[in-house]
Symmetry: C2
Subunit: 263 residues, 2 copies
């Protein structure tokens, strides 16, 4: 199977069977992938409110009902507990295990609420379509991500600063990159800042807080977008009793095309 | 004071003093107005989830913390309990009273959660700017609104069909009307349908379910947008123990300009 052109449901099936456990970058061209956060119902109100107040870093695609194991709107027939290649489990904010199947957690407790959050993979596809380079794809590494001094709006127990991802863009293509991503608010939208990392509190672009450093060529400027790592960082900061997330780069594949996300 | 050009905070102050109790149509040109729904915390999760799942009819601008009486982001210093010209109180889904001050409800119970929902007044301003007629403004009546056969995504106790507002638009201006409103997703966004009321289950355009009928001239087509009456209709349908809404047309005035809503 060519994973780049395969249907998301077919790839989810392979993941469910344990036959695919790697990162989902480049899978199912044109279809949206999402960040996963699973929390006990007792924390779900605060987290939903946090996402509502911080839509740029936490653009919600779907929230399942408490105990529900499927994203029935974005991926009918999916199994949230088995369709992500790798999950991470955190207990009281401490990393507990990485696994490929979290069914038993859903079976043991009926109070889990699953949140699907938009991912920059979607807008990178649109940038590439428009001939705008995406450096970390060219270099075969993870996108560089940085903690910033931009406070998120807090909600209940959840508070913290925005995490941004950075892509170096040639001067002449920055306006197009802004316009294209501004038109995709459900997958982070427009950049938060262009060209002044120090104003975000970023000390060294060569030393990202998450992911890998990438080359910035002459004639390029670093452009910073709100990042889907923000909700995970904020959740961990509050040390929730229990939390499941996807492992970085191992996203949930949806049946919804990026091009239809806003309509 | 010329209410059309006045600052929202100044008009809210007059409303708070009881000096203005009428509809807010035409107030504070360029600033967003919002629909208000206030519910007990016990129902707030279901309602927030309902809004997340139905962003076209229920575009959330802000959700206050439980017990909080101010929309601190959209209107710093505001008093949710006194800054709307007219409120309606419902108990167990039955209309109880219309009043200009709901302070004592907020004082008696600390569990009220206030939701501010985007309003089509914002996109009407943009349509007028673009030379697109808005018939109910020309005719000095309320916009006609209709129940439809389009089911909303349900969430917990809340379910029901979408309510739409209708504006007749000249054939040649429909594409611009679609494009302009599609660019404003936080105030209902693009139309749900153009020109085929029967497909929405609307029997007679001359007999709206809410608001007033307007003239459709030769060369015009009825265009239907998701309507902010949807969340109120859905909430009432579920007969909540307690609910406060604004009275139709008597909106909450925010300090946020329509033109910045998406950024």
């Amino acid at each position: 199977m060519d994973y780049a052109t395969a249907a998301p449901a077919a790839v989810r099936e392979l993941i469910r069977q344990g036959k695919l456990t790697g990162p989902t970058t480049g899978y199912c061209d044109g279809y949206a992938q999402g960040n996963l956060v699973v929390l006990p119902k007792a924390l779900a109100w605060d987290f939903l409110l946090f996402c509502q107040r911080n839509p740029k870093s936490c653009p919600l695609l779907e929230v399942a009902d408490a105990g529900e194991r499927s994203f029935s709107r974005f991926a009918p027939g999916s199994d949230i507990a088995r369709d992500v290649p790798r999950y991470r489990i955190y207990k009281n904010g401490v990393f507990a295990e990485e696994t490929t199947d979290v069914s038993h957690y859903f079976e043991e407790r009926g109070d889990l609420v699953s949140f699907l959050i938009g991912c920059s993979f979607s807008f990178e596809y649109a940038l590439l379509e428009a001939g705008i380079p995406v450096r970390q794809i060219e270099e075969g590494v993870n996108v560089p991500m940085y903690n910033t001094n931009i406070p998120c709006e807090s909600a209940g127990v959840f508070s913290g600063n925005m995490v941004v991802s950075m892509r170096p863009i040639p001067y002449a293509k920055i306006p197009a990159a802004v316009a294209i991503t501004a038109g995709m608010p459900r997958v982070h939208g427009a950049p938060v800042q262009i060209g002044a990392p120090e104003a975000l509190g970023i000390v060294s672009l060569a030393h990202p807080d998450y992911g890998d450093a990438v080359t910035i060529k002459p004639g390029e400027m670093p452009v910073f977008w709100p990042c889907g790592v923000t909700p995970q960082a904020v959740v961990m900061h509050s040390r929730p009793e229990f939390c499941i997330t996807h492992a970085p780069g191992h996203m949930f594949l949806t049946d919804v095309k990026n091009s239809t996300l806003n309509y």
